[in-house]
């Protein structure tokens, strides 16, 4: 069984890029993605564990990234709500909807954090609906609704017809 230091190195070297890509889709910025991965690694490896197997660790890190990101966005939103005169309410710049090939990450940022998480988990991670629901601590119906809303918004931005 590797030590946590060895496991950290193996995970970062072997799966670091994949984790960063996942984080990038969640938060929309390379720098934020690196920070997200780093924070998740710290959270996961700071806890005592009996199993330092890489697949399990990666799953822990991805879950930590998702929850940390959702927590952060919720916290930021609350802060923005109580500071309307100082802060911009928008979390990110608006996408240029008139541009047919608008940047997909920018479009993702137009979604709510949970819609975005559903899109990333479903379309990028290929997670089943039930698993997404478990990760987000909600029902499958809620996940379907988030995905449907996200599809409509993305489709509108892409000028494509969204079905289902």
């Amino acid at each position: 069984m590797p030590s946590w230091e060895e496991a950290l190195e193996l995970l970062a070297q072997g799966r670091g890029t994949a984790l960063k890509r996942y984080g990038y889709l969640l938060c929309g910025s390379e720098a934020d993605a690196s920070d997200l991965v780093q924070e998740a690694l710290i959270r996961v490896f700071a806890r005592p564990r009996r199993d330092w197997a890489l697949p399990a660790l990666e799953a822990y890190v991805r879950k930590a990234m998702l929850h940390y990101h959702l927590d952060q966005t919720a916290r930021r939103r609350r802060w923005l709500e109580i500071m309307p005169r100082i802060a911009d309410r928008r979390d990110s710049p608006a996408a240029d909807a008139s541009t047919e090939r608008a940047d997909v990450v920018q479009l993702l940022q137009e979604l709510s954090p949970r819609q975005r998480a559903c899109v990333v988990l479903f379309y990028y991670e290929d997670r089943p609906l039930q698993e997404i629901a478990t990760l987000l601590d909600c029902g499958v119906g809620t996940v379907k609704r988030h995905l449907d809303d996200a599809r409509k918004r993305l489709a509108a931005a892409w000028h494509v017809t969204s079905e289902g």
Binding site: T17, L154, A155
Partner: protein, 264 residues
């Protein structure tokens, strides 16, 4: 799959694959992890001490009239601060010893841990007060529902008296007092330097094992050890203690003679 879904899937995949490799300093991350693990370990030590009233203790406080024996097994894994890792399920039946490993500890950088001399109550059972004093500003988690700790008396290294905090906390209900600031609803206490948190516990009168008596254990010359034992659930652990697990709870030990100190 419709065109929209294909476009979304392709879009997110393409976007993600334009991202370069992870650019973080593993050394810095490992350093932060060590700090946080050390912090958790330090919290564990203080937590175990503080949670005398909890059903979940990870610390043992031992009093011995004899010179402190080195109870730290050779080759034992240690934390960065040198505290051994006691990570095993323990049994506390009458006549059995406390299973090693145990460690000597009087607190950490932030907290000073003191057990005031036990006082003999009218029933003969000892009353013990444990006090944690902040060396610097500290935030201490405390249980929502304090219960008595598991306190054991040992003679010749074997258990001769004690109570099981997990099943029979009464009547040794701890009475925590503190001079710091209570945070939230008793989830945590914030102590400024010099402020303290203390818990007083009294063993039940019938907590002595068959074949022994309180008078015998208090007799001058008797080498009696008092131990306060904790499980690890206070730290949120849900699996059994494992001697090979990483980052286990420290087992705190403090030795001093079991001598009656009359109440002021």
């Amino acid at each position: 799959m419709d065109t929209g879904e294909e476009q979304i899937r392709r879009g997110v995949t393409d976007a993600a694959h334009h991202i370069g490799p992870l650019d973080i300093s593993l050394q810095a991350v490992a350093g932060k992890i060590r700090n946080r693990r050390r912090l958790l370990g330090g919290t564990a030590a203080s937590f175990g001490i503080i949670l005398i009233g909890s059903a979940a203790w990870g610390a043992a406080i031992m009093f011995s009239p004899a010179a402190a024996p080195n109870v730290r097994p050779a080759g034992q894994e240690t934390t960065p601060s040198g505290i051994p890792f006691p990570h095993q399920a323990r049994s506390y039946a009458c006549g059995n010893p406390i299973q090693p490993p145990v460690a000597h500890e009087t607190g950490n950088d932030a907290l000073d841990f003191r057990v005031t001399s036990p006082r003999r109550t009218p029933s003969g059972a000892p009353e013990i007060t444990v006090t944690l004093t902040a060396r610097k500003a500290a935030s201490i988690p405390v249980p929502l529902t304090p219960t008595a700790p598991r306190i054991l008396l040992l003679k010749d290294g074997k258990i001769v008296a004690g109570q099981d905090s997990n099943t029979a906390p009464s009547p040794g209900v701890p009475t925590p007092t503190f001079s710091g600031t209570q945070l939230g609803v008793a989830h945590a206490l914030r102590l400024a330097p010099g402020e303290h948190y203390s818990v007083t516990v009294t063993l039940p009168a019938d907590a002595v094992c068959d074949g022994h008596s309180w008078s015998e254990l208090w007799s001058p010359g008797e080498k009696t050890t008092l131990a306060v034992i904790a499980s690890d659930r206070a730290l949120g652990r849900t699996h059994p203690l494992d001697p090979h697990a990483l980052n286990p709870d420290p087992l705190v030990v403090q030795e001093q003679p079991l001598q009656n100190v009359p109440a002021p």
